[in-house]
Each structure stands twice: as structure tokens, then as C-alpha cells.
């Protein structure tokens, strides 16, 4: 029964996001898997906002009151959009090699899914922060700001409220089944990655790249093995969705795609504080792209991320929540070599990353040689964050090497999906030119 309840809560998260997406025409022609993959992240954000608003308005977290608005929205969408357009399926044909890779992807999805429900929450940050907040909110039946102060964590509430929603649907705390909601970020990342990659390359390259991404041991650990229950994979997923929406905006150049892009950009800082530099970077990217395509009338939409992040900052201010830890001081540039070596050591950690980072830097050189504009722009999504990490480690008041060793595998997880997308572009370009030479 409990597993049905948690699956029902996942369905509601998908449903809420799906209904919201239908209000925009960006994904009308997209595959249902792609739409659902984005819907999950949007659904998590919307239901978290809903719980927050209910709490602020003093409305009790009653399941019926939480679900009802979404049933109405879904009914409205069904009324407005014909059913056939809403759920369009097309049969895709795969050759023998593609079928094998697809099978490997399915095996990985099944394996990580099984792992996620095998054991209870075991990740340190899971019980020290993320699901601890869910436990607090569920036990108290509200966002108890006093208790939040007692956690000493300045992290935002999006993931904690997602867990609370799961517990509300279950009717009790179950830190084993709740991990399914974290596993779904892994599944949805696979979906959105495949379709974004297919847009830039072809089916075969997209399948290979998706498999290479999903088989990263660090991703598997956060998706369902021992590190499930933390927010790092979720942040990686949201950052990748932003990248995908940015590419959609470049393609369609319309208002709706930019609205969605900016909405998701705002969410990054609500998943984890580490998402704030990402939000800033994407706002700059958004502004530059608006300037380059001469759509300056959309500039006001840059206020979306500011409003989304602003409400959280205001919440912290009003309820005297703890601020970010003050470990940043003036950068010490004499640490440069130590920091670069410390980060590079993780790039070569094959146990966590297979050959992702070696592949990424080789891809960067190839993209420069080929002068591939889109590829280089996407590379900036990764490089900008690497520079942020570099700056943080130069400025940390902690021992830089200890700090790097403690967090670098999680930081790189935030950008790993985008890095994989960068790798897929030269893979496609080179295999295409090799094929043409052969012919």
C-alpha cells in the first residue's frame, strides 16, 4: 500500500508539472517522455511552492486540499487541449546496435531503481539536512521556523518540501520509500538528456551518450545507491533542464520558451545555495542572447529568477533563518596550484566519473578546432561553474585541500550532465565525418 502511495505522489508531481507545461506551447510537438521528464522538476517546484503558500496562509496541509487545485488545472488542460495532442506517441525504430544500448540504459534504470528501495536513507547530508527538514515539517504539520533554526541549515526548502509531500501522501515517515522521489530525478535526467542530445546530434549518439551518462558511478550513487536523498543530483537535473530550455529558446526564439527558461533558472537557487551562481550565470546568458537576437522587449522576464530567489531571501529575513556559512574571505591566489591540482585529481577519479572529464577537455579542444558555436556556448555552462568552484576554493577559510576533497565530487555532479552533452557533440561530428570519408 505504501509503495502505491509513493507512486501516486510521484504521479501527482508529474501531473502538476505536465499541466503547467501545457499552458506553454513550447513542448506541444515534443515526445511525451521529454515532456514528462521536464514535468517532474516543475511539479516538484510547484507543489513545494503550494505547501509554502498554504503554510504562510495558515491553510492546513490536508492531502485533499493539496491535490484538488491540480485536478482542476488538469481538467482545464484536458478541456483546452485535445487528448490526441496531449499524449502523442510515435514508434521509433532502432537498429541492432541501438537496441543493445537501449537495453543497457533500461538495465541501468532498473538497477538504480531497485537500489533506491533496497535500504533506508544512508547519506549523511540526507539525514543531517534534506530529509531531516521533511521529517520536521511532516511531524509539526507546518514549516516550523524555530525548528529550522535549530537545524542550523541555511539551505532552501524545495527538496525538503518535496519529501514532506511524499510523507503526507504516505501518511507516515518512511525514509526508504521516499528515496523513489529522488531516484526519479535520475530517470527524468535520462529522458531530458536523450531528447536534448538527439536535437543536437542523432539518435545513435544520443543513446550512447545517455548510456555513458547514466553509467557514471557518482550519478548511480546519488540516483539510488548510498548517496540517494541529497539535493546534488536534483541540482544537476535542474541545471541540465535550464540548458535544454536555453537551446529551445535559441531554436524557437519565442516568449514562452524564454519564460520557462527563466522560471527554471530561478529554481536553481531554491534547490541548493550552490545553484545561485548558476542562476546569475544563466541570467547573463539570457540577457546576452536577447541582445544578440534583438528581443530586448523580453528583458523584463529576467526579473523572474530575482522574484523567485527574492521570496526565499525575504522568508529567511522575516523568520530570522541562519545565513550562509561565512567561510568565504579574500581570494588567496598563492593557492592556485593546490586548488587546480586538487580539482584535477577528481577529474581523473575514474571510480566516480569513468572518462567523462578527460572526454570533456578533449571535446573542448575539438569544438575550438571545429569552431562549433553551440557546442562552445554549452561548454561555457560547465566552465563558468568550474571557475566559481575555483574562486570558492581560493577564498575558503577552511583548509583548501580538505574542502575540495569533501565537496568536489558533489559539485562536479551539478555540471556532469551538461559536460556529457558537450562530449556528445564532437562524438557526433567526428563519427559523421569519419562515415563520409569511408563512403
Amino acid at each position: 500500500m505504501s509503495i502505491l502511495n509513493i507512486l501516486l505522489s510521484a504521479t501527482l508531481l508529474f501531473g502538476a508539472g505536465f499541466s503547467f507545461l501545457q499552458l506553454f506551447s513550447v513542448f506541444r510537438k515534443s515526445s511525451i517522455i521529454e515532456i514528462l521528464s521536464i514535468s517532474y522538476g516543475i511539479g516538484v517546484a510547484l507543489i513545494s511552492f503550494q505547501l509554502l503558500i498554504y503554510d504562510l496562509l495558515g491553510i492546513k496541509w490536508n492531502i485533499a486540499w493539496i491535490i484538488l487545485p491540480w485536478i482542476l488545472v488538469f481538467a482545464f488542460v484536458l478541456y483546452k487541449v485535445p487528448f490526441k495532442k496531449l499524449f502523442s506517441f510515435s514508434i521509433v525504430k532502432f537498429d541492432a546496435f541501438e537496441k543493445i544500448v537501449l537495453l543497457l540504459i533500461i538495465l541501468l534504470l532498473c538497477y538504480v531503481g531497485l537500489e533506491s528501495i533496497l535500504r533506508p536513507l544512508s547519506a549523511w547530508d540526507g539525514w543531517a539536512t534534506w530529509l531531516f527538514k521533511s521529517t520536521i515539517f511532516f511531524t509539526d504539520g507546518k514549516i516550523n521556523t524555530n525548528a529550522l533554526n535549530f537545524t542550523g541549515s541555511e539551505y532552501p526548502l524545495l527538496i525538503g518540501l518535496m519529501g514532506t509531500f511524499g510523507y503526507l501522501m504516505l501518511g507516515h515517515i518512511d525514509d526508504k520509500l521516499i528515496l523513489i522521489l529522488f531516484y526519479l530525478f535520475y530517470v527524468c535526467l535520462a529522458g531530458i538528456f536523450y531528447y536534448t542530445c538527439k536535437e543536437l546530434t542523432n539518435k545513435k549518439t544520443a543513446l550512447i551518450s545517455t548510456f555513458l551518462l547514466l553509467s557514471l558511478q557518482n550519478l548511480i550513487r546519488h540516483g539510488g545507491r548510498y548517496d540517494a536523498g541529497m539535493a546534488d543530483l536534483a541540482l544537476g537535473y535542474y541545471y541540465f533542464v535550464c540548458c535544454s530550455l536555453f537551446l529551445k529558446f535559441i531554436k524557437f526564439k519565442n516568449k514562452n520558451s524564454f519564460v520557462l527558461f527563466m522560471f527554471m533558472t530561478g529554481l536553481l537557487g531554491l534547490v541548493k545555495d550552490d545553484g545561485i551562481p548558476m542562476t546569475l550565470f544563466l541570467c547573463i546568458v539570457g540577457a546576452v542572447s536577447l541582445y544578440s537576437i534583438k528581443k530586448l522587449s523580453y528583458l523584463w522576464m529576467l526579473s523572474f529568477p530575482i522574484i523567485i530567489l527574492g521570496q526565499w531571501e525575504l522568508f529567511k529575513l522575516v523568520f530570522h533563518m541562519p545565513g550562509a556559512p561565512k567561510f568565504i574571505q579574500n581570494p588567496e591566489f598563492n593557492r592556485t596550484i593546490t586548488v587546480i591540482l586538487g580539482i584535477s585529481k577528481e577529474f581523473l577519479n575514474l571510480e566516480n566519473w569513468n572518462l567523462l572529464w578527460i572526454g570533456f577537455f578533449l571535446s573542448l579542444i575539438i569544438l575550438l578546432i571545429k569552431k562549433h558555436k553551440i557546442g562552445l556556448i554549452i561548454s561555457l555552462f560547465v566552465i563558468s561553474q568550474l571557475l566559481v568552484y575555483y574562486y570558492v576554493f581560493l577564498s575558503t577559510s577552511l583548509d583548501p585541500l580538505a574542502h575540495i576533497n569533501n565537496v568536489i565530487d558533489r559539485l562536479l555532479l551539478h555540471i556532469a550532465p551538461v559536460a556529457m552533452l558537450v562530449v556528445s557533440i564532437p562524438l557526433y561530428l567526428l563519427s559523421k565525418s569519419y562515415k563520409n570519408t569511408k563512403l
Binding site: 538495465l107 538497477y111 533496497l118 543531517a128 530529509l131 525548528a147 572526454g359 564532437p426 562524438l427
Partner: protein, 155 residues
Amino acid sequence: MNLKKYIYLCFFACIGLWFLLSIARTAFDFVRIIPEEKEWHGLSYDQERFKLFGNDYALIKLMKKYIANKSYIIFISKDGEAFYLSRYYLYPSNMLFVQSPIDLRNINTKKYSTIVEYPNIVSLKPYLGALVNNYSIAYRLQAKGNSKEILRLKK
């Protein structure tokens, strides 16, 4: 061979090797799930947590048994993991992490009803006399080899 071709070759070699490595790891992961599943299947709520957290979970069980719900607890330990785990499992009890009994001097201890020392980092004796007067119950947990002993002090 020019530099460009050398880079392309390196890239292909990298992807090829990575692909093979990923297949091998996927196969290994999939084989590994069967014994893992057997190992975890059918365990009770407590057995699962004992398996994951060992002695730390034994401490949590003891605290759940002896300390009332919604208590204010001072947790004296150098073991951060034990503290955060206890805080997670004992909520709505409110726990304060103190790394050394000396730090108690700087804390307004009025609202705290319970002291837990884990495992047995520093003797509480010099401080106990004053503290027990302020607290209804104080607990002291001592690890002796693998067995645990609980010392209950009443006012």
C-alpha cells in the same frame, strides 16, 4: 599524422575505452544486485538501521527508550555522525551538539533536561555535581568493547 588527427584519435580512444568500461561496470552492478538484495531482503526496520549505522543506532535505540519525546538534550561527543543521526531519529526532541563538557560553561542550559555523553570522550564527573542539580535526569553512555552500558543518574 598532424596534431588535429592525433587529438581526434585520442578522443575516439577515450570514448571507446569509456564505453567498454561502462558496459563492464553495468554488468558488474547488475550481478551485484542479487547478493545485495538477498542481504537486505526481509530485514526489519531496526535490523536495517543496525546494519547501516551499527553502534550509533544502538545509542539511538537507548535514547528512544529512556528519554521522553520532545526533550531538550545536550549531546556531548566528538562524533558528529552520531549526533546528526540521533537528532534525525529523535525529532521532535531538540538536541544541542557539544564537543567538550568544558563548553557547557558557555551555554544557557536551563531548558535542557538530559545530557548524553557518547561514547565516553571525557569524564563528566567534575561537572556532574553542578549539572545534576539542574537536570531531572542525566544519562551517560559508555562503550565497553562491543557491549554498551547505560548509567542512569537521578536527581
